[in-house]
C-alpha cells in the first residue's frame, strides 16, 4: 500500500497533478505555544486561507501545546503522531535557533519533514523616539564608547533571536556579546513600552511588531535587517546594509509534518502551499499579520532549515554561548 502510494506520488509529481490529489480527511495545525503568539498566528494564516480558498473541505483545527517555545510540540509529533497526514506544526527561524542550541531535547533538525516557509518578518533595531541617535552608525559608535550606558531589551531570553540580533550589532561595535546589559522582556509590546519609559536604550525586535509603534511615533526604528527596504510603514527606514553593516535577520514562519508522513501526503502539502501562497486570499491574510512575502517549499526548505541550524550553531559559538 505504501509503495503504491509513493509511486502514485511519483506519478502525481511527474504530471504536476499533486494538488489534485485528495486532501487529508482531517486537517489540524498545532501551535507549540499559548493562544495569541507567533505560532498561533502562523497556524491561523494557513487555516484561514486554506478554508477561504476552499482548498480543504472542512475548517482546519488550530490546537495548542505549550512548552519550551515549541519543544513540547516537536517531541509530541515525533513521539506520538509521526505519521498523521493531516497534522502540520507551526515553526519559525526561532525553532531552528533552538534546535541549533540543542534545546529541543534529543532530536535534531532531521527528525521531522520540513514543509515550507510561507512568510517572513525581519529583525529591527530601534531606539526611543526622543533619542538623539538617528542612524545605525551613530548607535554603533555611541555603543562602542559607552556600552554600559545602553541597556538592551528584547522579547526573548539570552540566546534567543532578539538576543542574537543585538549580539551581532554589539559585535559590530567591538563589544563582546556576553558583556551586553540585556533585559529579557515579555514580547515586543513590552519592549516598546520599556523603550518609551527609558528603562532600556536599545530595542531588538521584529518589524511586524515594532512597525505600529514606529508609525505612532513612540519608537524610532534605525535599521531593518533585510536585504531590501520593506514596503509599507517602514519604507523610510534604511536597511542595515545601506548603512554599511552587513546584518540580515529574516524571521521566517512555516510548517513541518511528522517524520513518517508518506511522500504522497508530504507532496500534497507542498503543492497545496505552493498554490496557496499565490492566491489573493492568502496574500491578504499574510499582510494582515504583518508578514512579508517569502515562499521556500519542500526540499528547498529542508535545505534551508539545515543551513540555518548550521549557521546558528556557528553564531552561538562566536557569541560565547
Amino acid at each position: 500500500m505504501k509503495r503504491f502510494l509513493s509511486s502514485a506520488a511519483v506519478v502525481a509529481i511527474l504530471f504536476g497533478a499533486g494538488a489534485a490529489m485528495a486532501a487529508p480527511e482531517k486537517t489540524e495545525c498545532l501551535a507549540g505555544a499559548k493562544p495569541g503568539g507567533g505560532f498561533d498566528l502562523t497556524c491561523r494564516l494557513v487555516s484561514n486561507s486554506l478554508l477561504a480558498t476552499k482548498m480543504i473541505p472542512a475548517p482546519m483545527a488550530v490546537t495548542y501545546m505549550e512548552g519550551g517555545v515549541g519543544a513540547t510540540a516537536y517531541n509530541h509529533v515525533i513521539g506520538s503522531r509521526p505519521s498523521d497526514p493531516g497534522l502540520v506544526v507551526a515553526a519559525s527561524s526561532g525553532s531552528a535557533l533552538l534546535l541549533a542550541q540543542g534545546k529541543f531535547g534529543k532530536h535534531d533538525e532531521t527528525a521531522v519533514r520540513w514543509l515550507g516557509a510561507v512568510g517572513t518578518d525581519y529583525g529591527v533595531i530601534a531606539v526611543a523616539a526622543d533619542s538623539p541617535i538617528t542612524s545605525l552608525d551613530q548607535l554603533v559608535k555611541a555603543y562602542k564608547d559607552q556600552p554600559n550606558a545602553f541597556p538592551v531589551g528584547g522579547g526573548g531570553a539570552v540566546g534567543s533571536q532578539d538576543w542574537m540580533k543585538a549580539a551581532v550589532v554589539a559585535k559590530g561595535a567591538g563589544v563582546p556579546p556576553r558583556q551586553m546589559r540585556y533585559a529579557a522582556l515579555e514580547g515586543g509590546g513590552a519592549v516598546a513600552t520599556a523603550l518609551q519609559g527609558g528603562h532600556i536604550k536599545i530595542a531588538s525586535g521584529d518589524a511586524g511588531e515594532m512597525a505600529p509603534h514606529h508609525k505612532a511615533g513612540k519608537v524610532r526604528i534605525l535599521a531593518v535587517m533585510a536585504d531590501e527596504r520593506l514596503p509599507g510603514d517602514l519604507a523610510d527606514v534604511p536597511t542595515a546594509k545601506e548603512q554599511g553593516y552587513d546584518l540580515t535577520w529574516p524571521v521566517w514562519r512555516g510548517y513541518y509534518v511528522g517524520p513518517q508522513v508518506s511522500d504522497a501526503d508530504y507532496t500534497w502539502w507542498v503543492d497545496t502551499l505552493a498554490t496557496l501562497v499565490k492566491t489573493p486570499e492568502f496574500q491578504k491574510e499574510r499582510e494582515e499579520r504583518g508578514l512579508f512575502p517569502l515562499a521556500i517549499l519542500g526540499k528547498d526548505f529542508d535545505d534551508r532549515v539545515r543551513a540555518d541550524v548550521a549557521r546558528f550553531k556557528e553564531l552561538a559559538k562566536e557569541a560565547g554561548l
Binding site: 475548517p59 526573548g156 531570553a157 539570552v158 533585559a183 522582556l185 513600552t193
Partner: protein, 504 residues
C-alpha cells in the same frame, strides 16, 4: 479628554444585535468561569476563530469577547464559594472566606455579596477606563523591571498578614510556591531548570494545574475522607440576601479593593490573580480581628471586587499602548489585529466605534451580569444539594477534562494529581494553601524583573531605589508591615491594662 467616542460607543453597543452578542458573551463567560480549569483565555481562544470565520464584524466580536472575559470573573466565584474549588485562577482567594460562609449555611448570602462586589469592582474599573485610560497608559510606561520588582516586594509585604497562627508554616508554604516557579525555562538566560530533560516540563508547572491540583483534587480527597467517616452533613442553603448591615460593613473594602485591583490590572504582566491576592492580604492586614478565613463577608468581597476591577484595568494598556495587561487581553489584542485594527491612543479617535463600543458594552455588560447573577443565586445554590456520588466524580471529570483539553498531555494530569495529593497532605498538616499560590504567582514576576533590573544596571542594586515610583512602593511596603503593629501598640496603650489577644 473628549468623551465623544463614548457616545458613539453607546450608539454601537445599544444596537439590538450587539446587545444580544453582549448578553451571549456574559452568559458564556459565566459558564466558562464556573467550570474548573477552563478560564476566560480558553473561552476566548475557542470563540475567536469561530466568530471570525462566521464573518461577525469587529465591534460585535470585541463586545462578545469582552463579555466572556468579565463574565468569567463573575462565574469563577460560584464553585469557589460553594465547593471550595476555584473556577479560575482569579477566584482562588474567593474560596478563603466564601467557602466557610457557605459551610455556615450562608451560601446564598455569599453569592449575593460576591455578585455585588464584582459589580462594583467592574463598574469602578470601567469608569476608570473611561476617564483615565490615556493617563494610566503613561503610568504603565513608568514601570520598568526595577519598579515591577519593588511592586512585588510590596505584594510580599502585604503577605505578611497571612502569617496567622502558624508563621513558620506560612513561610514554608510561600517558599514551596517560590521553589515551584523556578521549574522550567529560565526566562532570562534561556536555560532549563529542574526539567530532567523532560520537554513537557520546559515551560514549568502551569498555574492552572497548580490551582486545580491544590484545590479541586485535595478537596475531592477531603470529601471522600469525610464521606468514609460519615461526617458530611448537608449544608443549609440560607436566606437569599445579605442584611443591610453586612453590606454596609463591606463598602470600604469593596472601594479600596476595586482601586487596588484596577491599578494592578493596568500594569502589564500582573492580572486578576495578583490583584485578588494583594487586595485580600491588604484587607486582612487592615481589618482582621481573627474573623478572616472563617467566613468574613469582607474577606469575600475583597478578592471579588479586585478581580473584576483588574479585568477592566487590563484593557487600559491593551487599548492605549497595544500592550496586553493579562493573558486574556493578549488574545483579544490578537483579535483586534486580526481585524486589522491597531490599538493605541489613536484608536479612540480613529475607531471610536471599536474603543467606545467596547467600553460602553462593559457598562451594559456589568449591569446585565448583575441582573443575570442575583436572581440566579437560587439556581446556583442548588449545587449544594447535589449528592456526593454525583458531585465528587463530577468535579474529578471536569478537572481532568479541563486540564487535558488545555495541555493535551498526560504528564499534566499526573502533575495535577501529584499536586493534589501534596495539597491534601499539606492541609492535613494544617498548612494554609494560599501562601503556596501567592509564592508561585508573585515569585516568577519578582525573579524575572529583579534579574532584568540588575542586568540593566550591570549588577548595581541602587537601580531599585532610583525612581519615584520605586521609592513610593518601598514606602508603602514598609508602611504595610509596620502600620498594624503601630496601631496595635497604640490601641493597647489606650486600653491600658486590657489583656491582649488579637495580634494580627
Amino acid at each position: 479628554m473628549s468623551l465623544d467616542y463614548l457616545w458613539t460607543g453607546f450608539g454601537v453597543a445599544l444596537q439590538w444585535h450587539n446587545l444580544m452578542y453582549g448578553l451571549a458573551g456574559c452568559f458564556l463567560g459565566t459558564l466558562v468561569g464556573a467550570l474548573p480549569a477552563v478560564g476566560p483565555i480558553n473561552g476566548i481562544a475557542l470563540l475567536l476563530p469561530l466568530l471570525y470565520s462566521m464573518g461577525v464584524p469587529a465591534d460585535s466580536t470585541m463586545i462578545l469577547l469582552a463579555g466572556v472575559y468579565y463574565g468569567a470573573e463573575y462565574g469563577g466565584r460560584i464553585s469557589s464559594i460553594l465547593l471550595n474549588v476555584p473556577g479560575d485562577a482569579g477566584a482562588v482567594m474567593t474560596a478563603l472566606d466564601g467557602n466557610p460562609m457557605a459551610r455556615q449555611g450562608r451560601a446564598a448570602e455569599a453569592l449575593a455579596i460576591s455578585g455585588i462586589s464584582s459589580f462594583v469592582g467592574g463598574m469602578i474599573a470601567v469608569v476608570g477606563l473611561t476617564f483615565f485610560a490615556p493617563l494610566l497608559g503613561q503610568l504603565a510606561i513608568g514601570f520598568g523591571p526595577a519598579e515591577y520588582f519593588v511592586l512585588m516586594v510590596f505584594a510580599f509585604a502585604t503577605l505578611s498578614s497571612m502569617v496567622g497562627h502558624h508563621p513558620v508554616k506560612t513561610m514554608i508554604g510561600c517558599v514551596i510556591g517560590l521553589a515551584l516557579t523556578t521549574i522550567g525555562l529560565d526566562p532570562t538566560s534561556g536555560a532549563y531548570r529542574f526539567t530532567f530533560d523532560e520537554p513537557e516540563l520546559s515551560s514549568g508547572i502551569e498555574f492552572i494545574i497548580l490551582v486545580i491540583g491544590l484545590f479541586s483534587i485535595s478537596e475531592v480527597l477531603f470529601m471522600l475522607e469525610h464521606q468514609y467517616h460519615g461526617r458530611l452533613k448537608p449544608i443549609a442553603v440560607g436566606r437569599g440576601f445579605p442584611s443591610l448591615a453586612t453590606l454596609r460593613s463591606c463598602v470600604g473594602t469593596v472601594l479600596r479593593c476595586s482601586g487596588i485591583g484596577f491599578v494592578v490590572g493596568v500594569l502589564p504582566g500582573t492580572g486578576a490573580s495578583v490583584a485578588s491576592a494583594v487586595s485580600y492580604t491588604t484587607e486582612k492586614r487592615l481589618l482582621d480581628r481573627g474573623t478572616f478565613g472563617k467566613g468574613d463577608p469582607r474577606g469575600l468581597a475583597a478578592p471579588e471586587a479586585a478581580n473584576n476591577a483588574a479585568a477592566g484595568g487590563a484593557f487600559v494598556p491593551m487599548l492605549t499602548l497595544g500592550v496586553p495587561g493579562s493573558g486574556t487581553t493578549a488574545v483579544m489584542l490578537g483579535a483586534l489585529m486580526l481585524y486589522n485594527i491597531m490599538p493605541g491612543p489613536q484608536l479612540f479617535t480613529e475607531r471610536p466605534d471599536i474603543a467606545g463600543g467596547l467600553i460602553a458594552s462593559m457598562y451594559i455588560g456589568n449591569i446585565l451580569l448583575l441582573l443575570l447573577n442575583l436572581p440566579m443565586v437560587h439556581v446556583f445554590v442548588r449545587l449544594l444539594t447535589v449528592p456526593n456520588w454525583v458531585l465528587i466524580p463530577g468535579i474529578l471529570v471536569l478537572s481532568f477534562l479541563g486540564v487535558y483539553s488545555m495541555y493535551a498531555s498526560v504528564l499534566s494530569i499526573y502533575m495535577m494529581l501529584g499536586i493534589g495529593v501534596l495539597g491534601y497532605a499539606a492541609r492535613k498538616l494544617d498548612f494554609d494553601l494560599a501562601p503556596i499560590v501567592l509564592g508561585f504567582v508573585l515569585g516568577r514576576v519578582a525573579e524575572t524583573n529583579l534579574r532584568n533590573a540588575l542586568a540593566i544596571s550591570g549588577g548595581e542594586v541602587s537601580i531599585l531605589f532610583e525612581s519615584t515610583i520605586s521609592l513610593v512602593l518601598w514606602g508603602m511596603a514598609v508602611l504595610v508591615v509596620l502600620a498594624p503593629w503601630y496601631l496595635h501598640r497604640r490601641r493597647r496603650a489606650a486600653m491600658a491594662a486590657a489583656p491582649d489577644g488579637t495580634a494580627a
